[in-house]
Assembly symmetry: C3
């Protein structure tokens, strides 16, 4: 019961943040209100939906109640209403993305463990849960699939998932069992982002010399 | 039994019309006979297949018998044989598309209700059933996903689905329970199409002046 | 037990060869190590995953143990290590592709029969198992979906599948029941490839005259 509550809470936060991330991508593509909501929805539930579809007896998480739909709508509408504030905050898309990646990946690993899967398959489920929503989002807005970035993305999800499995093996309990890998994923993702961002600028300056 | 017969009948008609719609798209892309059949198939079953995959215990509708496959083949072959007649009738693709959208969306909502889902999730299942075949079709023929159009598409499916839920709540029975929302979707879709079509023409004339 | 062993064996070989085929495509696109592994994985399990997802009660084959993941990793790493040798062997991608197509298509038909499906649906499941991994691979590396090739691809899968059904109807037993259609598919695929390859060369010469 308690574990399931935590899982629900993680899913809600993840859906909300991924929804905002999807909405920002959609607004950058100048889609209208409904398009923004659709991309928000796909980004938020895409990974978890694939995970639940792969597991034979698992209900698709957002179909069992209307709550997830409402949280996604809330995230999407919040992103639209506060769009000007979002632009002012630099890299909000990437930060929300990092939070969603951490939350979703660990939920995926945990659900794999709950289904008695081999740890290798748990790691893959975690990476799918964390990154597949973004893959579908990119395909739908017709962006070139940023495979190179996605790999870093998925690699970070795998590292976080492996850390979760190790902590679980060492009998570390909640909330640390979840908090440590989630924060690790968020930190790694943000480090990768901020390490990469000055890099092209330097190259740009070199070209202008 | 009777309701299930009606559902089967709707599925057959929807498959046939979506198959023709898919075949026309494929012929426009100059695909060969087998390619036309494949795109017909994907357009016809894509939405319902995603719906059935999302529902844990639901068999994928076209796998339980060979009938659906035959109806799609019939639609695809009819479109190829009468292709010259189809070109002569203006906008046949869009009209068949509208019929398919109406038939499929309402089936999706109904199946959601049969599975005891929340009305919000029923509406989403309806929209997925009605519009996802076309999304896969567009991805496969490498067209830029017409998200903006799709949204109108999905919005109409949602309006029709909501009307179905309201009529169902008011104890309206079949056949009107199904006919009214289906005709509403078809009408709205055709109104949107014919409202849009003269618009670029006027712009075109302006450019030529 | 014995049949299931053969099925497992076919799956392993198919995964290994499709994994190499995926890795070669990914290396041609200059993806990094992790990207190559991801594309290998998707190419190897994409078709079978869709098949298992469509069948309501079927577990997704690569989730039940870690073995498939290891075979794919082995294929992917082998392709990377022996990449220079692979380039020297002409058309390795296409030959591995042909083997994978034969192995996977027949497994798909067989699983359809095991689930008591109509022969038409078994043929479609076979074609999906054989060709869908390549379709997802192409979408992910943003290549124009080679629908025309895919059709030949799927047509060959359908011919091999039909041959399997005919042999099964004539009470031909294993291993011939599986070997004959698999070799037929591989042969047809290679004939199509080598028939096609000199064709553009002749046209090229004509243009140069």
């Amino acid at each position: 019961m308690f574990l399931s509550d935590i899982l629900d809470y993680i899913s809600i936060l993840g859906c909300f943040t991924f929804s905002i991330s999807g909405a920002i991508t959609a607004m950058r593509k100048n889609l209208d209100v409904f398009g923004i909501i659709v991309i928000s929805f796909v980004t938020a539930v895409g990974g978890g939906t694939l995970r639940d579809t792969l597991l034979t007896d698992k209900e698709v998480f957002w179909l069992t109640s209307a709550d997830t739909v409402y949280y996604i709508l809330a995230g999407s509408i919040a992103a639209m209403v506060f769009r000007k504030q979002l632009w002012r905050i630099k890299y909000p898309l990437l930060i929300f993305d990092a939070i969603g990646l951490g939350l979703f990946s660990i939920t995926g690993v945990q659900i794999g463990l709950d289904h008695g899967l081999h740890f290798v398959n748990c790691l893959i489920l975690g990476a799918i849960t964390g990154s597949f929503g973004g893959v579908i989002r990119d395909i739908l807005v017709n962006e070139i699939p940023v495979i190179f970035q996605k790999e870093v993305y998925a690699t970070i999800a795998l590292i976080g998932g492996a850390l979760y499995l190790v902590l679980s093996y060492l009998n570390v309990v909640n909330p640390w069992l979840q908090i440590i890998p989630i924060l690790t994923i968020i930190s790694l993702r943000l480090i990768v982002i901020f390490y990469k961002i000055p890099f092209p600028k330097v190259k740009g300056h070199t070209h202008q010399l």
